[in-house]
């Protein structure tokens, strides 16, 4: 018993000391700048050097957190808890956050670098006049594949994924809208379809791809494609760029029937406690040099026209990652379909997954 008490006292003393240490550390860093901002971003979606550069230039400490889905991000912001000052949702999530009053308006006066952005990416339907959001990156959904593992087979359309030669080769992304969307696209239907008949048709067709599916996973796909563990993947353009960075055999296409075009945008959540700092951060990220460095690091396409000028012409003229406006017009942006429809998409996705077993 005595020993127990002694052990407990030691534990408590050590914890107290550590807690004091933490609070001391936090105080000393907070003092050195004019406050701090909390940035909530996708994983692997910023060059960490830029965070350090921003901290130094603006004397604002950056607390950086990451999320892996729009939905998880929204849930966390809605619950309060942490006062995020910046978040980077996709377009349909912005629509929804706007509906739920989770966004603060952005003062364009404080963001002179907004002029760097290609007008094509401004004033989009999900946020007219960019009242609440500023473009960060954009990209597409498509097929990444490694021809050397497939005897030189190449891809042009979604239907190619149904090819019998691909048995146990295809990796799909674990996300309902992308996978059901692939089924819809292969029939030429809209990615935002809410027609039960169309969705049924798409799901039934998806079930036929079952034997070809090797796995339905998340970000792990990048590593698997790099290591040649997998040959074909339904994935986002930036993931494909990450794969190619290491393994040059890999190629990426946007299927001819059309696909998804998406935009990720910086927003200021209503939980923000440092709105001024948040504006400074947005303006910093829009700086031509900063945006170019960031795009180089992350691999997705930047909407920053001034940054594109500074980047390697070979990269920015690559139609796979910077598709021309002509191709972009064929693509479709996700609309916020509402929770009911999201539920329907997920049930169908679940049905497809169960059918594979």
């Amino acid at each position: 018993m005595k020993e127990l008490i002694r052990a407990a006292i030691v534990l408590i003393a050590v914890s107290a000391l550590l807690m004091y240490g933490v609070s001391f550390l936090e105080r000393s860093t907070a003092k050195s700048g004019s406050g701090s901002i909390t940035v909530y971003n996708w994983g692997e979606y910023i060059d960490p050097e830029l965070i350090a550069q921003f901290e130094e230039e603006h004397n604002i400490r950056v607390i950086y957190e990451t999320f892996d889905s729009n939905e998880a991000m929204m849930t966390k912001i809605e619950q309060g808890g942490t006062s995020y000052d910046i978040a980077v949702p996709s377009e349909y999530a912005i629509e929804k956050m706007k509906e739920n009053d989770l966004l603060l308006p952005i003062d364009h006066e404080l963001i002179p670098n907004l002029q760097n952005i290609d007008p094509y990416f401004l004033d989009l339907p999900f946020d007219p006049g960019n009242e609440y959001s500023i473009p960060y990156f954009w990209g597409t959904v498509g097929i990444a594949f490694n021809p050397t593992l497939l005897e030189g087979q190449t891809f042009e359309s979604w239907d190619d994924l149904w090819n019998h030669t691909l048995e146990q080769e295809v990796i799909l992304v674990d996300s309902a809208r992308e996978v059901i969307g692939m089924g819809l696209n292969s029939f030429g239907y809209s990615l935002n379809s809410t027609d039960p008949a169309e969705l049924r048709e798409a799901t039934d067709k998806l079930k036929e791809i079952g034997p070809n599916v090797k796995a339905i996973i998340g970000d792990e796909v990048v590593e698997m494609m790099r290591n040649e563990e997998a040959a074909v993947a339904l994935t986002w353009s930036g993931h494909a760029a990450d794969m190619m960075w290491i393994n040059e055999d890999i190629d990426y296409i946007i299927p001819e029937e059309g696909s998804n075009l998406w935009f990720d945008n910086m927003i200021i959540p209503s939980t923000s406690t440092n709105v001024e700092g948040a504006h400074a951060f947005i303006n910093f990220m829009l700086d031509a040099d900063v945006a170019a460095q960031n795009a180089d690091y992350v691999g997705y396409a930047t909407p920053n026209a001034a940054a594109v000028e500074l980047m390697d012409p070979e990269v920015v003229s690559d139609e796979r990652f910077y598709p021309s406006e002509e191709i972009r017009d064929r693509l479709e942006v996700y609309e916020n379909l509402g929770l009911e429809m999201l539920g329907v998409y997920n049930e169908l996705f679940l049905e497809f997954k169960m059918d594979m077993q």
Binding site: D174, A215, I217, E228, E340, G343
Partner: protein, 274 residues
């Protein structure tokens, strides 16, 4: 309010704990399961659960949990038996427990590497002339990893009950002419069923609600109730449906607890090792 006379006041923290962290959450889950997306009272979630997708999922969850438990017992019982015969019992036991100190996700990621097409497992198969196989994303890899993760929880209770077994009983059985197999069947095993039951509880119930491994190791080719709950809460934000699945999961667990409940002494579920 009634005075709690006769009841020792030191039970208050216990009752508070149970009320706040056991009863309240379960009550909340049951409550949420009666609401749809727009917050209206409904029984649709329950109706929805009895559609083919969810029933099929329940069946497959049970099937995989059963296989995981079965293989765990098949490996754990001989191991625990052998452990009680060794000289340094506690040391060997420690070696078996230590892997459970490592984070589950970390172990799972390690297996992605080990089972990979160019990982150690396939290198071995290549060397012995079988050639590279697709190990990852199969039923085999899923059950293997799950058994690996759960095995300490099966070994511990079985070890405890075997260790408590009075060796005189085994000697007596032998003296009376029973063969080793009869001794095991009629004496050792019946006296250690308590440990096996505790082990089943500790493995079968968590195995029913496994997620994450289903994606990382089985590539979503195995779908359990746990995966569905995660999806409903995080992606679909349909708390009602997520809660409904959780209610059924709790019910199933309750049934298993009753079926494997203990009436007499025997193995202890709390892993007391003296």
């Amino acid at each position: 309010m009634k005075a709690t006379q006769g009841r020792p006041f030191y039970l208050i923290p216990y009752y508070l704990w149970i009320a706040l962290f056991v009863i309240a959450p379960i009550a909340l889950i049951a409550y949420f399961s009666f609401f749809d997306l727009s917050g209206n009272f409904t029984l649709d979630n329950y109706k929805n659960f009895f559609t083919s997708v969810y029933l099929q999922m329940t069946l497959s969850s049970f099937w995989y949990a059963f296989l995981i438990t079965l293989f765990s017992i098949l490996i754990a019982y001989p191991t625990a038996y052998w452990l009680t015969k060794t000289k340094h019992k506690q040391l060997w036991l420690l070696l078996i427990i230590i892997p459970s100190w490592i984070n589950l996700l970390l172990k799972t990621y390690a297996f992605i590497g080990i089972f990979g097409l160019y990982g150690p497992a396939n290198n071995f198969l290549e060397t012995i002339g079988i050639g590279r196989l697709q190990i990852l994303f199969t039923d085999f890899s899923f059950i293997f990893v799950a058994v690996y993760i759960f095995i300490p929880f099966m070994i511990l209770p079985i070890f405890n009950s075997l260790d408590k077994l009075n060796p005189a009983l085994v000697d007596a059985s032998r003296d009376l002419g029973a063969s080793p197999w009869t001794t095991f069947r009629r004496v050792i095993f019946p006296l250690t069923t308590g440990g096996v039951k505790s082990g089943i509880q500790a493995v079968f119930i968590p195995a029913l609600s496994l997620f994450m491994i289903t994606r990382l190791i089985a590539g979503n080719k195995v779908i359990t109730l746990g995966t569905a709950i995660e999806q409903q809460f995080l992606v679909t934000q349909n708390w009602g449906m997520g809660s409904t699945i959780a209610v059924f999961l709790i019910l199933f667990m309750f049934i298993i607890m009753i079926l494997t409940g203990q009436k007499e002494k025997g193995g202890s579920a709390n892993g007391k090792t003296r």
